[in-house]
Amino acid sequence: MNIHQSWGNVPQVEQTCLEQLWRSQTLPAAATLLPFGQGRSYGDVCLNDKGYSLATGRLNRFIHFDREQGILSAEAGVTLAEILELILPAGWFLPVSPGTKFVSLGGALANDVHGKNHHKAGSFGRHVRAFELLRSNGQKLICTQEENSDWFSATVGGLGLTGLVTQAELQLKKIDSPAIVQKTRRFENLAEFLRLSEETEADWEYTVAWVDCMAKGKQLGRGIFSMGNHATAATPGIKPEVLQPKFSMPFNAPSWLLNQYSVKLFNQLYYHLPRKHDSQVHYEPFFYPLDKIANWNRLYGKRGFYQFQCVVPLDKAEAAISEMLQHISKSGQGSFLSVLKRLGNIASPGMLSFPRDGITLALDFANRGESTRHLLADLNEITDRHGGAIYPAKDATMTTALFVNAYPGWQKFSEYMDPHFSSSFWRRVTGE
């Protein structure tokens, strides 16, 4: 029986689910294997059609926590939420936070995730001090930037294909308060977004923008830019606690709920909503707005949804992104949370890492079958033409040509793959 699905619910696959219970164990003698953490990647990077999916959820023990130096070592199945529960009261924070705290440590490492502070801190993998890689032949490799450094850079961003990461050691970030000092600014178009990005990147640790993906014509590329820094002193009423989801989607919503009218209306309102320009907020709504609703992916109904995330070089960003936004608004598809972000020039450590210098655009599309896949093919083509890359953790449609162009390290990477490991994603993009 298959209980492991990706967050987008597409594609649907047939696989056998296994579990790794103890970090001292060897791997099950089954092929091909793919580690499965929390299933928060969207497409098929966490799926292994006709193979075995190895759940790591039970590998969720802490191993060592140095409260003075902020060094945490934990098993790879621990979620970032569990880590936050432990480290926040001790005055530490995650060095890099993706858009949800419900991902596993191993998943964050294997996808070399990034956050709103990419321009300052680089990708997640840069803050991983060490990890243990368990191979199907029973070999255990301790990998750091110095020791087994080739295995380190193959495995960080290595999409779970080099073996099972059983445990990892993370350098945390010292904070004085769980509050974020936040500022927001409206922007009218992409040029203004780019200017705001440049102006704010030195003084603001976290920057991100919401973009109205339904706007057309003169309004194309309008949105809201938000920036944040950790507050430097305790803020009354904001406690160092991890918030639990407030609501839960108990079942799949009917597929008509998100249509071009409801989404357009939402985007209109969201853009014009009066908001405080300066405020202090709890870190949770700032970093993880969607974590408030458990199982929000069910909003997209039984057919699921596709997520698209690309990065394009800075000098081509305005042309490429406005072309993409035109395609999206013309198609009438698109969603609430479309995100633009300047990624900095700090190199990512992984051979297959996605984060690179440029502008990244991310948004979801309800799965409407052929028309959605056409739109995604167009967006992929625009990405490719401008020398950009698609994020494997979000992808279900990238072609082999696009993958090969954007990830020139893939051939070298394949030498480090565990012979008993594979994934639906890997077979798709390499045409195996």
Binding site: M1, I3, E19, L21, W22, R23, S24, R58, R61, F62, I63, H64, F65, L86
Partner: protein
């Protein structure tokens, strides 16, 4: 701060329960066969806030070592507030039907061995005139069914034993809790098809801690199993014997 001894500490439900006590800053004494696994759990619980964690490596099937175990536990913990018995095996019903030795082994692990431990620990708590004994039994012990009546009779006997002990220890202020978890997604049940009624071990763990805190006598986890079992117990035997349950 409380002192808790967990017998069968490497089981999934036991580990999740221990985490809750660890975050409360309690002292824990973990007993199980595999020392390497105990070490993994020990460091995790210490980081989560346990004030003290001791590990004792014992094969609980060796009843002749139970007195030595109790002595070690008393050495590790100044007093005992809670004893949680959390080990067991599901066994192979089909094999048991053909082989008495297999049946005996099941009864030994799930019932007789536990009773040996309970004998020693209950006397200790009785003298202490305080404390709680919480043991994981099963709804399978509520009524015999063809699919697992060997496991069911072991757990059924254990439930009756606990009930009598509760009655005996009432005047000594010792609380006895019988825990009856339904379908739990643990390594013990890895070969089962999972459906709607299945829950994760941390849900059971929260229920156990709550039932101990509230000094409940018998608790079904999650709560709805009480009603499922009520219906199952109400079916007349003349009909029940015809069902394939």
């Amino acid at each position: 701060m409380q002192s808790i001894v967990i017998l069968g500490a490497t089981s999934a439900i036991a580990e999740q329960t221990a985490r809750i006590y660890a975050t409360r800053g309690d002292a824990l004494c973990l007993v199980a066969r595999d020392d390497a696994k105990l070490e993994i759990i020990k460091s995790d619980l210490e980081i989560r806030g346990a004030s003290k964690v001791t590990k004792l490596s014992y094969d609980l099937n060796h009843t002749h070592l139970h007195q030595a175990l109790l002595d070690d536990v008393i050495k590790a913990l100044a007093r005992i507030d809670i004893v949680l018995v959390a080990y067991g095996t599901l066994g192979d019903q089909k094999k048991c039907e053909q082989d008495f030795d297999e049946t005996l082994q099941e009864l030994q692990t799930n019932c007789l061995g536990v009773i040996s431990l309970l004998t020693l620990f209950s006397n200790y708590l009785e003298k202490q005139k305080a404390g709680c004994i919480a043991a994981i039994s099963s709804p399978a012990g509520d009524r015999g069914r063809q699919s697992n009546y060997v496991y069911g009779s072991a757990k059924g006997a254990l439930s009756i034993y606990l009930q009598g002990m509760r009655n005996r220890l009432y005047n000594s202020s010792v609380h006895v809790l019988t825990i009856k978890p339904g379908f739990v997604n643990t390594p013990m049940t890895k070969d089962f098809k999972k459906g709607l009624l299945w829950v994760e071990p941390d849900v059971i763990a929260r229920g156990i801690v709550k039932a101990i805190d509230r000094r409940k006598d018998i608790v079904y986890l999650p709560f709805f199993w009480r009603y499922i079992m009520l219906v199952i117990k109400l079916i007349p035997e003349s009909i029940f014997k015809r069902l394939s349950l």
